[in-house]
């Protein structure tokens, strides 16, 4: 371990030498240069982990390369500043072995929030309940509103989310709700905080923390998920506002390979996000969505899913993530949308459970499936098929479109339709609750519920 630590130091040193310092410009620029490293300093003190230190020493380099003067005016948190790295024993988590620079770091997973994380994860993974995902970004929410002829204004988004979150009795079937940042800080038209509406219903508020997908250079036209910069302080802020779990969605595309690079990046990003979330009191939902797009068989999906999850769990372990305090949000193992044969729920259940049994350690309390373009009824039937015998983890749902589709249709933006819309939500929520218990029956489902919601090349 001593040897690999040296490598980190050397890497940092080299980066410092690569960039040529240039004189800086405005004072605003100078301020930024101070604040960023100070933030890093706070991060060191808060997180106290070796890995963060090495990441930040590289990060610090980037921020201070523009000026050698800026770097001189405060503690040099770079590799050559050996007084900082060499002396201090920063691994002070309870129970870890005492440390000298050469000793192997023995990190107890998660930190001050361990008990709370485990409790929150268990609460979300309670029998008969699942997650209502309403974390559509403003742009995506706009599409939903547009589909019923509404403008994408804050008031409309507020009205819509209010409709959903004030549905009476929702907490019977819903254990958690993922919000978009705007909603986390919003109140209802009556002035009540959205998070309070949730808490009163015994629903845990969650927050989407990723910053979306962007093209992955050097890949086969694939994407990667942004959002690690400043994630720690954002997470802390969200925690203060009342969020108790987080969500980060990255994607993997089978038609594009996926390439080893894309899989590695997806898994590593998730692992870093998960570690940072736990450090700030948020249960991370780990979501590597294997997109439905493509004409591949269900066997291909199984192979890719096993590959992706093997990588994800390996990096989660490397990042010392506490498995008892995470939740998963996988896609079900199905044929591609354009594959000639559809698979029935029993087949999907069999393949999906095979994959999970091969990859998910029992310490993980809950697996909350995404619907990814399946129809409301399909999503429910598949979930039901997966719950016909006991599983070592709670197998449930985290649905967005598959819970909201009929709601939107019933609402149409009209205040007089709110009650009907809320009823529609309860109907879908209850159906999925029964599916989680393995007790769902498709009798009495509407035609709308059966309509597929797959959109080719769907971007969130």
């Amino acid at each position: 371990m001593f040897q690999s630590k040296k490598r980190y130091l050397e890497k940092g040193q080299n980066r410092h030498l690569e960039k040529t310092p240039t004189p800086f410009g405005s004072s605003a620029h100078y301020l930024r240069l101070i604040i960023k490293p100070l933030h890093c300093l706070r991060t060191i003190l808060e997180t106290n982990s070796f890995l963060t230190l090495s990441v930040l020493s590289i990060h610090t380099h980037r921020s201070i390369t523009k000026s050698s003067m800026a770097s001189a005016s405060f503690v040099k948190l770079n590799a050559s500043s050996s007084p900082w790295i060499g002396q201090r024993s920063f691994n002070q988590r309870p129970g870890s072995s005492s440390r000298s620079p050469a000793a192997r770091v023995s990190v107890i997973r998660a930190g001050s929030y361990s008990d709370e994380l485990v409790k929150t994860a268990k609460t979300i993974a309670s029998p008969g309940r699942g997650i209502l995902a309403i974390d559509e970004s403003n742009a995506t929410c706009g599409k939903r509103l547009a589909s019923i002829g509404l403008d994408n204004t804050e008031a409309n988004r507020q009205a819509y989310r209010q409709l959903l979150l004030t549905t009476p009795g929702l907490g019977q079937y819903i254990s958690g709700s993922i919000l978009f940042e705007e909603t986390l800080f919003q109140s209802t038209t009556d002035g009540k905080k959205m998070v309070d509406c949730l808490r009163e219903q015994n629903i845990v508020p969650g927050i989407k923390v990723d910053k979306g997908l962007v093209p992955l250079p050097g890949s086969n036209n694939e994407s990667w998920c942004q959002g690690l910069d400043g994630l720690a302080s954002r997470s802390a802020e969200y925690y203060n506002q009342g969020a108790r779990f987080a969500k980060w969605r990255t994607v993997v595309s089978i038609p594009c390979g996926p390439s080893a690079l894309a899989v590695k990046e997806a898994a590593w990003g998730l692992a870093r996000y998960a570690a940072i979330s736990q450090d700030n009191g948020l249960v991370p939902i780990v979501e590597p969505e294997i997109l439905l797009d493509g004409d591949h068989s269900i066997d291909t999906t199984l192979e890719v899913a096993e590959r992706v999850w093997a990588e994800v769990f390996y990096y989660l372990a490397e990042n010392n993530v506490l498995f008892e305090g995470i939740l998963l949000k996988p896609s079900m193992v199905t044929p591609g949308a354009d594959h000639k044969e559809k698979a029935d729920p029993e087949t999907i259940a069999k393949y999906t459970l095979t994959m999970l049994k091969r990859r998910v350690p029992p310490a993980v309390p809950g697996i909350m499936f995404l619907s990814g373009g399946q129809s409301e009824m399909e999503a429910t039937l598949n979930l039901h098929a997966m719950n016909q015998s006991p599983n070592p983890w709670h197998v449930s749902f985290s649905y967005a479109r598959a819970l909201q589709n009929s709601v939107l249709k019933a609402w149409q933006g009209q205040p007089e339709n709110v009650e009907a819309a809320q009823k529609a939500l309860l109907t879908r929520a209850k159906a999925n609750s029964l599916a989680q218990l393995g007790k769902y029956s498709a009798e009495g489902e509407s035609e709308d519920a059966k309509k597929g919601m797959f959109v080719k090349g769907y971007t969130y």
Partner: protein, 358 residues
């Protein structure tokens, strides 16, 4: 391809599941000629083939013992040996519903540049040997990788190297009809506490399963033979319930439910200790989607050896001792062991040998 499904897939899955049958476990009788020599010399018996054969016959032919065993791991010599009456050992086992297993590794060698860490040899020609062993009646195999805990150990190199070796061995076995027992033993030597052991065990097992997955090993057709999570040999002992909690938690964090069973190694614990710990694990309340059983060598044979002393007239006494330990461990897999089973001389004796070389 996801998991490898060759022509033996169904058989592998069935055999792996069978080995994990509640109430049964594995007798590890695969001591190499050198190692069995040490055992024999400890009771002043000469290390010749007839004595080695006699000892193994004593064990395998103990009346009523085989019902508590689902498998026996053999050394190559023993796979081809017979009872004094001329019956092949593999037939004795087969008739009693016990699967014969075979040690296939060729021992450890040091990794240059490390502080005495090792890797395990044996991949060359392994496929061929496995096919031969299968033809001779073997249905599972075992390969022991060794890691140790120290200030800088286990190093990432040792972990990666051993995990990769285990994965290559595992897939080659599956290609040839043998259920691979994956054994990453983390030696108990050292002054470290149970937290340290847990941390290292979890890290090692994560690396092992990553390697197995990368090599397309069919997990449903494998078994795991890990160390229990305990304090180091030089540290203060803890209660069996604590060992159970830490061990089960380490497995919960690393072992996919697709693997049907864990068959613990005893690694120097006394016979009684090993049984009591196994029992505690099976009583522990928590998620355990795999069977928790045993694959004991020393912890099944110690008192038997002492009772035998190499003398014909002691065979019955020795067999009684062996039967008692088999039954005790069988009960432990069901969480029903009451302790103190036929405690004969040596059952509570620690079997730890510092820096134990197989």
């Amino acid at each position: 391809m996801s998991a490898y499904r060759g022509k033996y897939a169904d058989e592998l899955i069935a055999n792996a599941a069978y080995i994990g049958t509640p109430g049964k476990g594995i007798l590890a009788a695969d001591e190499s000629t050198g190692t069995i020599g040490k055992r024999l010399s400890s009771i002043n018996v000469e290390n010749v083939e007839t004595n080695r054969r006699a000892l193994r016959e004593l064990l395998f032919c103990t009346p009523g013992a085989l019902q508590y065993l689902s498998g026996v791991i053999l050394f190559e010599e023993t796979l081809y040996q017979k009872t004094a009456a001329g019956k092949p050992f593999v037939d004795v086992m087969k008739e009693a519903g016990v699967l014969p297993g075979i040690k296939v590794d060729k021992g450890t060698v040091e990794l240059a540049g490390t502080n005495g860490e090792t890797t395990t040899q044996g991949l060359d020609g392994l496929g061929q040997r496995c096919a031969q062993y299968y033809a001779a009646g073997a249905r599972f195999a075992k390969w022991r990788a060794v890691l140790k805990i120290g200030p800088n150990e286990p190093s990432q190199l040792a972990i990666n190297e051993n995990a990769n070796g285990l994965a290559r061995y595992a897939i080659i076995c599956q290609e040839n009809g043998l259920v691979p027992i994956v054994e990453p033993e983390i030696l108990v030597d050292g002054p470290h506490d149970i937290n340290k052991c847990a941390d290292v065990t979890e890290r090692v097992l994560a690396a092992c399963y990553k390697a197995l997955n990368d090599h397309h090993v069919l997990l449903e057709g494998t078994l795991l033979k890990p160390n229990m999570v305990t304090p180091g040999s030089d540290a203060k002992k803890v209660a069996p319930e604590v060992v159970a909690e830490y061990t089960v938690r380490a497995l919960q964090r690393t072992m996919p439910p697709a693997v049907p069973a864990v068959v613990f190694l005893s690694g120097g614990q006394s016979e009684e200790e090993a049984t009591v710990n196994l029992n505690a694990m099976n009583q522990y309340q928590g998620k355990k989607p795999w069977s928790l059983s045993f694959s004991f060598g020393r912890a099944l044979q110690q008192s038997t050896l002492k009772a035998w002393g190499g003398k014909e007239e002691n065979v019955k006494k020795a067999q009684d001792a062996f039967l008692a330990r088999c039954k005790a461990n069988s009960e432990a897999t069901l969480g029903k062991y009451k302790g103190g089973a036929g405690l004969s001389e040596g059952a509570s004796e620690s079997l730890h040998v510092k820096d134990y070389k197989y």
